[in-house]
Every structure is written in structure tokens, then in C-alpha cells.
Symmetry: C2
Amino acid sequence: MSPDRWRELGQQLRVDSVRSSAAAGSGHPTSSMSAADLLAVLLDGGFLRLDTENLANPANDHLIFSKGHASPLYYSVLKAAGIIEDAELLTFRQLGSRLEGHPTPRIPPTDVATGSLGQGLPISVGVALAGKRLDRLPYRVWCLCGDSEMAEGSIWEAFEHAAFAGLDNLTAIIDVNRLGQTRETMVGWDLDTYVRRAEAFGWHAIAIDGHDVEAIGAAYEEAVATTGKPTVVIARTMKGRGVKAVEDQPGKHGKPLDDPEAALAELGGERDLSVSLARPEGGEPHRFPAPGADLPTWDVGAEEATRKAYGEALTALGAQRGDVVALDGEVSNSTHSELFREAHEDRYFEMFIAEQQMVAAAVGMQVRGWVPFASTFAAFFSRAYDFVRMGAISRANLRLSGSHAGVSIGEDGPSQMALEDIAAFRAIHGSTVLHPSDANQTAKLVAAMADREGISFLRTLRGKTEVRTPPDEDVRIGGSRVVRDGDDVAIVACGITVDQAVAAAEQLAGDGISARVIDAYSIKPIDAATLQAAARECGAIVTVEDHWAEGGLGDAVLEALAEADGRPPVHKLAVREMPTSGTPDELLHGAGIDAAGIADAARALARETVG
Amino acid sequence: MSPDRWRELGQQLRVDSVRSSAAAGSGHPTSSMSAADLLAVLLDGGFLRLDTENLANPANDHLIFSKGHASPLYYSVLKAAGIIEDAELLTFRQLGSRLEGHPTPRIPPTDVATGSLGQGLPISVGVALAGKRLDRLPYRVWCLCGDSEMAEGSIWEAFEHAAFAGLDNLTAIIDVNRLGQTRETMVGWDLDTYVRRAEAFGWHAIAIDGHDVEAIGAAYEEAVATTGKPTVVIARTMKGRGVKAVEDQPGKHGKPLDDPEAALAELGGERDLSVSLARPEGGEPHRFPAPGADLPTWDVGAEEATRKAYGEALTALGAQRGDVVALDGEVSNSTHSELFREAHEDRYFEMFIAEQQMVAAAVGMQVRGWVPFASTFAAFFSRAYDFVRMGAISRANLRLSGSHAGVSIGEDGPSQMALEDIAAFRAIHGSTVLHPSDANQTAKLVAAMADREGISFLRTLRGKTEVRTPPDEDVRIGGSRVVRDGDDVAIVACGITVDQAVAAAEQLAGDGISARVIDAYSIKPIDAATLQAAARECGAIVTVEDHWAEGGLGDAVLEALAEADGRPPVHKLAVREMPTSGTPDELLHGAGIDAAGIADAARALARETVG
């Protein structure tokens, strides 16, 4: 215990937060100053155990700033720990600097990007789950939260799951400075309310004065000593603490101090304290046995649902690779991730009806090198869209499998139908979007996803489809499949519409129209060469998808042909009216994306082309 | 009090849930049977006050099934109340039936679509807010929740906001049947835990046996009598209650009973009880005065941020129309909705950092005919994407304004940059997507949004842009603006890139290349005629947007030209690498979407065209 030094270090972190924000001309110094003492004790009290010589040491503790806008404090911490130099600190927010406006993994040891509130804690739950159930290492996850973000529901998903999973390796620190961007939070400084909420959600809660370094140290000791449940340290603080011009003042959010020199003087000037962080306990991460297995295959002509093929392929992949893990949002008998659970129970995570926490947990697990596959209905990934978006900024490698695509699910109605998922996932940076039409394609794409960087999304079907792809055929990300040749019209389909396109081509053949059918199972990246060949060789193109007309397969095809000097007309068939309940066949027909609708469109185009 | 009749009515609701699901061959009878007694007492105890002769009576109570999969129960309730006939009940889940797999507003008096869990309660908060602060009528909102959905964070956003707003006109009923789709929930039948959570979030909580009709009646009495805070009735129930083959059994979720005839016999057979619902208290909704105001205008050549223009226009609109209300996610000094708050405090709703609850509240308010505009950073609407998706199924009229679009925000970095929002909103059914480049456009589009059906999204900029649109020029949804004429190349821009496109056109003119600049401020619907004219008249097209390459302006342009027989090559300029911090100019340049990048692309295309 060295309270005087802790206080000094706290002041240094404030000074550096003020300096870096002043140099940048923007940033959030006041939101940093409130939490400075909390971080000073974490660093210098030996609580944060981090091998600064080897930031990739698997035994390292993890420090996640859920309140990412307190980045000046975070970078000041990195400087105090000797991870960055003062000169780099002053590059904050400049082009080329690793010190972005909100933390990203560009600056090690930062695990994930934060800055969209309410995400750091659920991601911390994922890292802590990895520590306890996968790595089986005694590292601890320390997560600094702001009080404004306690209004985000995702925080309470995290509270519930962390307690359910008994994550005593997780400590949340809530910086209750009471002031949000424009006003006081709903709870203000009523720490008792936070304590009661946390306890009701199963956490050990400790309320303290967040500027009393001895109380902070005692709280962290208690957190470390608490077993069986996570601990939250709820700290009453003052925004802008230490500088009267901004301390506990409204209107001081997200801007550098007006007079940084005066502030530095008030804070006692620059300091140059350097902290030797505690070293982590050693140990190697646990590895799961991988006895091996063949990917499943299906005979051509068999009927199987691609969601079932997903479950079977993932289960085999789990036997091939010990690093593959699965998560599901309490629909594992619909997505068929239950097969993985049955085979690899230790690596299956039931995340219940909390899709934000599910995706966040996957982000947290991949921080530690695990290969998570998370599944739910494709429509319900929309619940976690901000988490997926931020996952891309985190450079996370995520594999997401969404079942029950489109109107073809039938009777359950539109709330359960994914009709915007392709568009949403295409617009995620660096993403991969796959929509196989049969079981053999699915199995190979699942295996390919495990090695794929970035965020990959697999869209699967509720109903069975005919297996058309021979088990030994090449199926790859970026590929496609010419199901049938022809040159009057090319029909580009994916998923459920491939069967419909083939049936349409058969009808068209009877009318003397030769239709090429392309199965574009890889929507992003799309097989541009095959599409461009079709544009050159066919008189017209019809795209057909069980998805809204915007942002899906049709738009991906148009993009692939955008720069072509000339190309035939492209007619997009897609779902254009709000669907209702009905049988799959009725709904495909109603949307005009069944064989009849495709054939009609192709005939009309063929007439125009000939005419 | 007529407990015997309540028990009989509960059995009738079970019988009708079993019958309708059996007729459909799918559905969720067991999830209906658990809550049947809860609904029987609500109906027959006089608690639900609904004018069945006038389902649009503004004084009516609202009944929202947050657990939308209990639709068999919901429709059985409508039958018991005389709102539908038995014959219609048996059309459940058939094509053409108003009784979809999950409730939608196609069957009055259903306010909103449910079926994505965790949405009904936050929407109920919106309806209750409307009752208390807007309509100022004594109607009550009754919301039936499942226990599985208590894991959704949005439920806790609703709990927090409802207590904060003192919504004693809201009663939540939690059907704690403990069994989810595949297993027991995290909380099981531990009612005390739910009670403690609810109380910690500021609610009055009552735990009961959900099959004890007298206890149910007493709980509802207590709920109605409780003032100053919302009440939650936490009811221990059994899934499949009343039929031994399914009662409290795993594996019975989401399927009709194997032997419905035996089940009906066990339940005592069909009944034909008819309930006369209590009549609501009368009263007319409150109307806010609308003294009138002119929309703001700016002189051509002035500089203003479109987010500021949003705030000013919305404030004027609020003075023109008493039905306009505003909500914000605690960033009102960034989105400039603070101007509305200052002018029309009674109609401003601070929703704090809880974007799901914000959008849900807007959905709830439009149920009662109010015209909500909700604002936050455009990036953070991704947090509420599932709520927007479901809003479309609810046929909700929502106006969403997202600020801080794209890399042009600069130093804050990618977590704060909306780069996928156009794609996400284009893929919402029936949506309108607007991205004005200057203040005058913004003001007119804000006014147009108020009259627009469906979900409209306005994307605004952080930085100032030059006002190019004369105040008296026609600006409309579906329109565009030819900023500059030319025919070697057409540059299609929107938002921040319009200024860049104009600068590029000036550079190109120096090279003897004549560039047409089109300001596509309406991205959906897009001005197809103007784009098709450009395709006919110009040698090439460049699209340029501060957004990822997928699903945005470029794809919208390609779609507008898809069916054209021939068209020039289209080159899409967009953000393609993950941005960092930097100044707006640096980042626009780095992404290749500034004047230099546009001019380079146009030159290359012009060369190809000439060559």
C-alpha cells in the first residue's frame, strides 16, 4: 500500500489526460479525470498483472475501457506502465497515430475497440468466459464502465450472464461521475441503487468514494478475494476532478480544457512516475483434444436443410480443431448448434435470449485466439448489429450463422424472417457473406469460415433443399456454381431460390429459352468473373433472392458488373411487399421469387432482347 | 370477483390455443397455456378497459404481447372479447388470415408487431409515455412478457425508463413458466430474484402463483392502485398448464400438441364464454398549441451543419404542428434536438444512452398518432436495428435522424462514424433514406418526413457545408439536384461529398472534361429519371459517398440503372479501408472520396470512354 504514490499517480494520469487532449484539440479529458484514481490504484497496487515485455503473454490480465471515450486516461495508463512514450501520447487523435479518438487494437495490448457504449462489459464477459472455461488460466478481466452506459440494456445482459457463469475473474469498475453528455444520469450519485441492481443480478457489489485511494485498494483486494461471483466496484467520482473550472460542472463533456496550462498547475504539474506492473502468474492455455473427423457429405439428390448441415459440419469441425467453440442464443434446436453441444459440451456456450451478449462473448473469446461460431435466427442478429459493426473495428474474427432466412420459413411470419440480413452484413467492413443452397456447400463453407479473417456470416434455410453439389466439387469463399448452362438469360440465385431457378430454367427450355443458372453461394466476395462472363454471353440477367430488394444478391451482382462497358439488362427479383404467414410455397409464390415468377421475368426479358 | 368463471375462461383460452395451433399445424400452444389464467382475469375482472365497438377509441387501454409467440392465446382473447369469431380463430397462420404466426397490426386492436423478444415492453413504455405526457388520458398499458425475454437487455432499458418516468399507467405481467425453447431459463422459478431486480429498477413488484385466479385479481387491483411507479406482476406458471402430456415438460416449445382431442377432453372441452370488456373512461386526447412558424432558411453561400439545420427545422415544425414530438439518446447537443427541447419542453423526451428504448418509445408514441422524431449519432441507430426492422412490420411511422455520418467527422475515429447506415436503412421495408448536403435541403426534408408513412431516416453531417440550394428551390423526397451540368462524366454525390464533387468538376473543367454533378439527397426513393438521363447523356458515371462501398448511394444508383439496356460504366467511390482518427479533410482524402479522388476517377473513366 502506497497511498501517497497512488494519489500522485492519479494526478499524473489527469495531467496526461489534459495534455493529450489539449494537444489533439479534442477528446474527453473530464471523463478521464473522474476515473484517474481508480486506474492509478489498479496499476500501482499490483492488481493489474500484465507482462509489459510480452503483451501477448496468454497469462496477462485484460483491461477493457467500456467507456472508450476515456481514451486520454487509457493512453496515460499505457504511458505510466511504460508501454508508450510521452511523445506518442501527444500524437493522440492525429492521422497515423495508434492513439485513436477511442481505443482500437491498433495499440497493443488493447483487446477490442470501444467507443460505442455498453459494449466493453459484455465483451469482458466473453474474455472472462474464455479464461475460465477455455484457456483455464487465472487471468483477470478489469473493465472500466461509465455510469451513463449503465442505461444500455447490453450492460444488464452482461451482468446477468457473468453471474450465471460464476465469473469471479471479472471485475467491473463503475465510474459514477453522475454527469452524462448533456445532463445528470437517471441514477445520479445514488450508489445504493446501483448496489441493489448489481446484487439482484448476482454480483458482489462494493460502493466506495472513487477518489479515496485506500478505499479503492481495499475494494480491489475484496474483488480479487471474492469467489463464485463477479464483483463490481461502484465508485462515486467527480467528472473533471482536480480542476475547479470543470470539476462536477455541466457542459464540460467531450472537449479539451479551456486553459490547460492553468489546469496543469492546479494539478501540481507534470510528473514522470513509472509503474512496474505486477507480473501475471504463468501457465499455458488449455487445449482441447481434437480426435479428428471427416466433414459430413450428402449424396446428390438427398434432401437436407442447410441449418442442419451447419450443425453437423460444425460438430465435425470441432472434432478436427480444438480451438473451435460454439455459442447460441437459446435456439440451438433450430440452428442445430445443439449437435455441437452434444459432442463438445465443454466448448458450447448457451447465451440465452441475449444476442448482444452472445456476439460480445464471441468477440471476447476471439481476443484469446479461440474460433467462435455464434448462431441464432438470422433475423435476430439485427439485435446485435452495433456489436458486429464494432467487431469489425476490433479486427475481430467472428463466424456468425443465421438460420431461418427469408419468407421460405413460412407460417411463423415476418418477425422471424431475415430479409435484410444480407444487406446488413455486406455493409460490415471486411465481411464475408455466404448463403449456400445445399448441405454439401454448407459443410465446406463452414470449414472455410474457421480460417477466414474478419466477420463471416452464413445464412441458412429452415426447410430442406435438394443436394445438387457433388461432395467432391470445389466450394470456396468467392466461388459460385453454374448449375445449368444456357445463354438467352442468366438466372443468378442463392439459397432457397436455386431450386426455383432450376425449375424455372426447365420451364423456359420448353419455351425455347436457354437459361444459365448460377448459384451465387458466396455473395461477398462474389464470383465476379463468372458473372461478367454471363453478362458477356447471355442476353439478359435475372437475379432472384429471398431478401428485400435492397443491398442483397441483386445489388452484389450489379456491383460486380458496374464497371463493365456494356452489359445486358439486369432484372432483380426480390421480396417487395411485407410478407405474412403462409406456407413456404405460397409465400415464395406471393413474392414472385418462385419458379413461376422467375420464368415470367426471364420470358419478358428474352422477348425484349429478341425484340 | 368471479373466480369460478375466471377459471373457466382460462380453460377456454387454453382450449382455443390448442385448437388454433392444431388447425394451423404449428404455433406455440404451451407458451399460451401458461399465461391463460393471467389473461382470463385481465379480461373478465374488468381490468382491461376496451371499447370493442370502437377499437380506435383513444381512451382504450392497450394490451401488448411482448411474448408474441403466445399468439394463440392472444387470438383466443380476441375471440373471448367478441372481436373475432371462432371461424377466424381457426384461420391462424394461413395465407390471407389476419391472424399471423406472431401478432401484427393487421388484426385490430393490435398496436404493434411482436415476435422478436424484448420489444413489447419497451414499446409499452412508449405508449404509456404518450398516455401520461402527450394524450394525458387515463388509459393503462398491460404488457405480457415471457420469462425467457427477461434476458434481453432491452427489457431492462424499459424497466429503468418506466420507473424514471413514473409510469404508473403501465403494468407488466411476467409469465414465469421457467422453460425456454431448449432449457430452463437462467432464473428458473426463482421469483424472488425477479422481484429484487424489478424493485432495484424502481418498480412495484408482486409475486404470485399465476394459476391462482384470486391472487391474480388481487395483484391487478394492487397494480391499478399503485401510483408514482409502474407495477410488475411476476407470476409463477407452468408451460402447457392443464395438459399432463406437455405441462412443465421440456421439448414442448413451439409445436402443436400431439393429441389435441385428448388435450381438449382433459381441459374440459370447448366452451363459449363471452366477455364484455370494461369500458374505458372517456376523454379527448390533449392537443398541444401550434402557434405556427416558418421553416428556417439559409442564404446561398452560407455555411451550416445539416445537423444544426435539423434541430432548427424540427423546432419550427414543432411550432407548426402540435403532434410532432422529439426523442434523443442523450446527445441532444450533438444532434441539435436540444433546440426542440428548449422550445417545446413538454414534447421532448430524453431517452438517455438506451437506443433500443428510444426507438421503441417512438414506436409506442406513433401508435397513438403522435409524430415522433428520434435522434442520435447515425452509427448508434445500429444498436436499435432490430427495433427498426420490427417497426416496419408494425407499419410504424417513424422519423429517425442520425448525425455524425461517415469519416468526415474526423478525430473521434471509426466507432463514432456511421458507414453502414445507408445500407441498413435502405434494407428496411418501405423506408425512406435522405442525406441532404446543405441546410436548406435539410429543413425541407424534415418537414416532408412528418407527412411520410413508414420509416424515414435522415443522415446529417457533423461539419458545416456550403448552402448551395436556394431557399425557394423545390426539394422533395424522391428528388435530386443537378448542381452543375456536363456530359463527359456524371458525378453522383450526397452529403459531404457534394462539395467535393463540385470542386472536382471545377478541376476537371480545367482538363477539358465536362462533369455533371448530381446531388442525390434522396437515396431511397432515388430520382431514377435524373440518373437515367445522366446514363444516356454522359460517357461515364462516378458515384461518391462517405459510406462503405456496399448498399449505399452507389448501389442505389446501380439499381436505378439496372434494367437499362445499355449504360456507361459506373465507378463507385466509397470508403474501403477502416478509417482512423484524423482531420475530416485528411480522412476524406485517405478514403479517396475528396475532390482529388473524384477527379482522378473521372479522368480515368473519361480516358477509357474517349479511348
